[in-house]
Homo-oligomer: 419 residues x 2
């Protein structure tokens, strides 16, 4: 198989003045790797026609495919099409197909098209437009000698969708790629990376399997990777080993999110849920309801910031609040019990704590969080002390609550509810 | 002043297979920009001697300074010093000063130095070592013609410390940098980028001021930038123009988030707030409570997914739900009124809608959302039809609600509450 080198060129002043970190290169790199292609290099250029032109001239001489992101918008700093026309010695003209794509985008949304949007159809004369289902800017494709060039918008969601819809199939038609790297991803909760690393039985793993780590706070992401015809079987063996030593810490695998996983488990178990959030302020409810189908299990949630809301909606006795305070094991328990009565759900989960930066005391410092889960089996309560700033404490609390729900739902698969 | 172009070369397979997103370029870019330098381009190369050598050869011919990160570790895939030696036609030798740096690092920590660590002192013969206070790998510096090359480790914390300690002062000695770019940022809501672009009075802007756009859905970010001694005054004039034509759409400026801005405005106005979220599932509450100080204005929030919660907590009449349905102007109004009574707050905001993907009907398709705001002035209700998938509809709904709250709080500054 002949060499098939691919380069990425990202454009935008914001990438070179530190305002925005480039994520498009990583996205493209991951998809290419998964499909057996190699990204040979990536380059960033500012919003200057000359610079983009120079980068394109250089890359077209050195690789077989160039993926360019950014600079296709309607405004004056969107210069990619002009730079491409110069680099390839083509003139610019309104591309009828691209213009119709732009018009259709506005038409379908009953929105007025601005004259500046017509600029988005001004492309090098030999460009083939690429549809953009998520935004106004069509992409386009060009050829220069043996090099294929693909131009995509810089908005990450649009870029990714168009790369998968248009660019990847085109690359596959040009070159089948080497044997693809296969990968399985596991999201673990409750152990630090160094501990997980020490627990992985590296010597027992099948020879070609590589292990990589990433952090998605508070989750540790473990990736198992291998190439070759036997990849599937090797990954099965590696996954079985991982499950054996770390199974209980694995929240989800591959594409599933922890909140999606919990929703699926609760729905499958036929469990209904209500939430009372104090320090997390609706974060857990928001995570669970970001997933389609949340209404199958979630009945309601309360963000009870003020004590009056705890009294009123959760029926927490005033005397209890006065005696123990809102951030206490007793209050968490009362919130969960009161919520379960109010909502008539199988499960009622309560979170109360101090996310900070203010509100900590020597006995109950910032990061003190109590969780309570009321179920037909009774009420389970536990206190934690989480590290980090406000948003880290909120995030950790929400993930801990997800973990409680996950484990409860899994237990139900073995021994269904008594109640 | 002559041109002084700087390039970054990051090395590492992990950057080109999607395992790790490069943050070093952004870090360097931000520091350079702050000090009035321009990063002309950035390049990523894999852990292959030939590729790094080719990149170095290219860059040394095109810019005046190259900052290279990665590949200085003790393992076999750390090839940067060898590649640099080849690119610059120098031999490799153990550098005594560098070796002493490596030895001292281990000595100071009472740790045993591995023989492989000696490799970290094997540098091109003319290299000047750069100290690394946070790790074992010394950096180094080389000159090729008019180009200065700086080699730093890839670990972000080590890279940043060494860049600030050694590289920035060296750059400043070579070239004082232009006067630093100053910038102001504005987040706009309610108009598309193309419309905003058409409304900006480019001809009236002070000569040096550049306008750049970015998207942070559903916000459009507008940046005004200018360099030079007169930057502050020019930005003042440009900002005044922007305020004149687009002022009402500007949600926040510079570092402030829209949710932080709304919290600040409500607190300053002494307004208390409660929320009832249906389709947004707690997203708005979660955004507002991610900011410190939310308890000063937020009394409570309800995520009323099931109708029973609307009946119970929000006192929405069952007959109303049966007659008009939960996604209706009538229901939104009743939610806001009932919530305001239950919570006794100045403002009660309700959101009900269909985020999808399921639940749409021909009359009320996915994206139909009603907002209601109950205040001492009465109840304001409005229906919307938002585009996009579930999370986009949720996000758009939450930002629209923020915008309602922002405008209400601003009006209070002019004419305080009647009630």
């Amino acid at each position: 198989m002949s060499t098939f080198d691919i380069a990425v060129l990202t454009t935008g002043d914001e990438l070179l003045n530190g305002e925005l970190a480039d994520t498009n290169t990583g996205t493209i790199a991951a998809i290419l790797t998964r499909h057996g292609y190699r990204l040979r290099c990536s380059l960033s250029a500012p919003d200057q026609e000359k610079e983009i032109e120079a980068a394109l001239r250089y890359l077209t001489q050195h690789v077989q495919a160039v993926i360019v992101t950014g600079g296709l918008g309607p405004t004056g700093d969107d210069l990619t099409a002009r730079a491409a026309a110069r680099a390839l010695g083509q003139s610019l003209a309104i591309n009828d197909e691209a213009l119709e794509m732009v018009r259709a985008w506005f038409r379908n949304r009953n929105r007025q098209m601005e004259p500046t949007n017509e600029r988005q159809a001004l492309l090098p004369i030999k460009a083939i437009p690429l549809p953009n289902s998520l935004g106004t800017a069509p992409g386009f494709r060009l050829q220069q000698g043996d090099c294929q060039l693909f131009f995509l918008p810089g908005v990450p969601s649009e870029m990714k969708a168009m790369f998968e819809q248009s660019v990847l199939p085109a690359l596959q038609a040009l070159n089948p790629g080497r044997s693809a790297l296969q990968q399985r991803t596991f999201k673990l909760f409750g152990l630090p990376e160094s501990r997980i690393d020490a627990m992985i039985p590296y010597r027992e793993l099948p020879a070609g399997v590589k292990v990589a780590f990433a952090l998605d706070y508070p989750l540790v992401v473990v990736k198992l990777r291998v190439a070759g015809d036997d990849a599937g079987r090797q990954l099965d063996r590696a996954e079985a080993l991982l499950q054996k030593v770390l199974g209980e810490y694995i929240m989800t695998r591959n594409e599933e999110t922890p909140e999606g996983n919990v929703g699926r488990l609760l729905t499958a178990a036929g469990l209904t849920l209500s939430l009372a959030e104090s320090c997390t302020g609706g974060l857990l409810a928001s995570m669970l309801t970001s997933q389609p189908g949340a209404s199958a299990f979630l009945e309601r949630a309360a963000v009870t910031y003020a004590n009056s809301a705890k009294l009123d909606w959760l029926r927490v006795p005033l005397s209890l609040l006065q005696q123990y305070g809102a951030v206490s094991e007793q209050c968490a328990r009362a919130m969960a019990i009161g919520l379960r009565q109010a909502s008539d759900t199988d499960l009622a989960l309560a979170i109360t704590g101090i996310a900070g930066p203010d509100g900590g005391t020597p006995e109950r410092p910032v990061g003190t969080v109590f969780l309570a889960l009321a179920s037909p089996d009774g009420v389970h309560v536990k206190g934690y002390r989480f590290n980090g700033g406000r948003q880290k404490v909120q995030r950790m609390s929400a993930y801990m609550a997800l973990e409680w729900l996950r484990r409860f739902a899994l237990r139900q698969q073995q021994e269904p509810l008594k109640g």
